[in-house]
Symmetry: C2
Subunit: 329 residues, 2 copies
């Protein structure tokens, strides 16, 4: 299996990206890694290492975080991200991974890699944190701001296949993000989607509320990109604000300062859990090849983890499963 890595995307590219890729190449010898980017800079990062399962693919250009996504993908045809996408489209790689510009990566998925037949809108599907550390796959969380009921059904099906193929869940519970749990709650979009989801080939458990996501009220959370993003940022903002307040409260007396020492590791773990930046990463589902977004701040460990995740998804034929499901329609 071949995985293309955008070596130039992300805050710590190319150093941390290359380092993570080398670690992954050593850990999984059944994977061939194609490092895409400025050959000289990548070689410098490799410091003479030449693993047999790592290959360099030169790309002279880079898409920056501030680039306008569609324009960048159209114009920067020799950027590391677009070249990686082309490798997937042309069958030279089964998957691509990038920590670069999220919008540009979604555009690369859509315009370069291409949609799976029958999929109307690919969806970005990160794992949201839950207090039990298991997580909820939420989609769409950023690819499409406006959705139709039929799109939400496609998200539900793709998300379910992902949780089954990649996480081994037998019957992932699908919840529809809504303002109440009763069946007829919500806006026109969710009311129409509810009826369609009841008849979709997924384990639909009904409407779920934003307040219960942290308690893992479902395995696949379906929402339009706008509402999902509002939810995520509200959770993040509340967590950051409360953690700061608590920190202040803990320095209000000598005894609380002393206690802070014992409680701090736990609070820190909670803060990390709620860090949105850590959870903006995930697969772009619905394109005909695996496209995986890493968060921009990814270090070598995060890159290695992403490669491991891509490896499992390719081994378990995620993209083929989605394509088969939609070819039946």
């Amino acid at each position: 299996m071949r995985i293309a890595i955008d070596a130039m995307g992300g805050d710590h590219a190319p150093e941390q990206i290359v380092k993570g890729a080398l670690d992954a190449a050593a850990a999984w010898t059944d994977v061939k890694l194609l490092l895409v980017g400025d050959q000289a800079r990548i070689e410098a990062c490799m410091q003479g290492a030449k693993p047999g399962n790592v290959e360099l693919v030169h790309a002279s250009d880079v898409i920056s975080p501030d680039d306008e996504p569609v324009k960048a993908v159209r114009r920067k045809k020799d950027s590391s991200m677009v070249v990686a996408g082309r490798l997937v489209r042309e069958g030279e790689a089964e998957a691509m991974i990038s920590a670069g510009n999220t919008g540009a990566l979604m555009t690369t998925g859509l315009l370069v890699v291409g949609r799976i037949d029958g999929i109307e809108r690919p969806a970005l599907a990160p794992m949201l944190p839950t207090m039990d550390d298991v997580g909820v796959l939420a989609l769409d969380l950023g690819a499409n701001m406006d959705s139709k009921p039929e799109h939400l059904v496609q998200y539900a099906i793709m998300g379910s296949i992902y949780r089954t193929r990649v996480h081994g869940l037998e019957r992932p519970r699908v919840g529809l993000l809504n303002v109440g749990t009763e069946a007829m709650k919500g806006n026109e979009l969710t009311k129409a989607a509810f009826g369609l989801l009841e008849n979709a080939p997924v384990e639909f458990i009904g409407n779920v509320e934003a307040r219960d996501v942290l308690s893992r009220n479902c395995d696949v959370l379906v929402c339009d990109g706008f509402a999902g993003n509002i939810m995520l940022k509200a959770m993040e903002g509340t967590a950051i604000t409360l953690m700061r307040e608590i920190k202040n409260a803990m320095t209000s007396s000598w005894i609380s300062k002393l206690a802070a020492l014992t409680v701090r590791p736990r609070l820190k773990a909670m803060a990390a859990k709620m860090d949105y930046k850590e959870h903006g990463a995930g697969p772009l589902l619905g394109v005909s090849g695996l496209v995986l977004k890493c968060h921009g701040s990814s270090n070598d460990q995060a890159v290695k983890n992403a490669i491991g995740k891509a490896r499992v998804a390719v081994q378990n034929r995620l993209v083929e499963s989605i394509a088969t499901e939609f070819s039946r329609k």
Copy 2:
């Protein structure tokens, strides 16, 4: 000025409602209070008190929390809530207050009290908590699940007038709830609303994000009822979950237990601040009379506060100001 009180609505009705009303009647002798509901039960709660500025209006029926709003308002014509609404419509009172069924109260506002000419959708406008305790007026937060761009502009204008008339803010800053602060962010609704808001007679400061509401990023937060509700419940759920985790962390050792004693009051205050139930209350703006929702769990103090708020709004001619603004169009 006359304020009609739905004495039968709320978890602690009629006892706490009547008690709060009697306190208010004593505090503000320029207000005449019309207590609407079961005469015998209200009299029992009054325990022989007969203030000159309190009058009883008998209503034989009650709308319960589980009643389907539209059906209940249409059928229970002699319920305390509907009778209070009728007093406002017929000019027998300038304002009505209820801690009962929120949906039914919105329906009463719409069908019994009636819309202000030119207003398409009345909006529920509670104050959201902020860390500095000042708060943000958010609308719509529940009256309309689907909104058009023009509705959001009307919310902005009504919210601004409320903050000026009731809270004395000279030029309240209006923010549009969105997924990013850049001008062209968002879905079709917010993109269209953005352009309209730039030309509206309000102090529009642009898009604002859910993550910054607790830091009071604006004075009037404009959103459709669906997104607003998702935001509110995400904030609430995160706050409740984190506070519970912190409580657990604080009991993990004897020193942290000791510290908990010193930190607890501050944590409790924070928890109360974030309690959604406390913030589901607010005016229904856009109807031709003041309609004020109290939270269902209101005690006497909350009822008294609501009456005080209604008094200020009536004194400062809130409803007339909104009507004048929209009659110009």
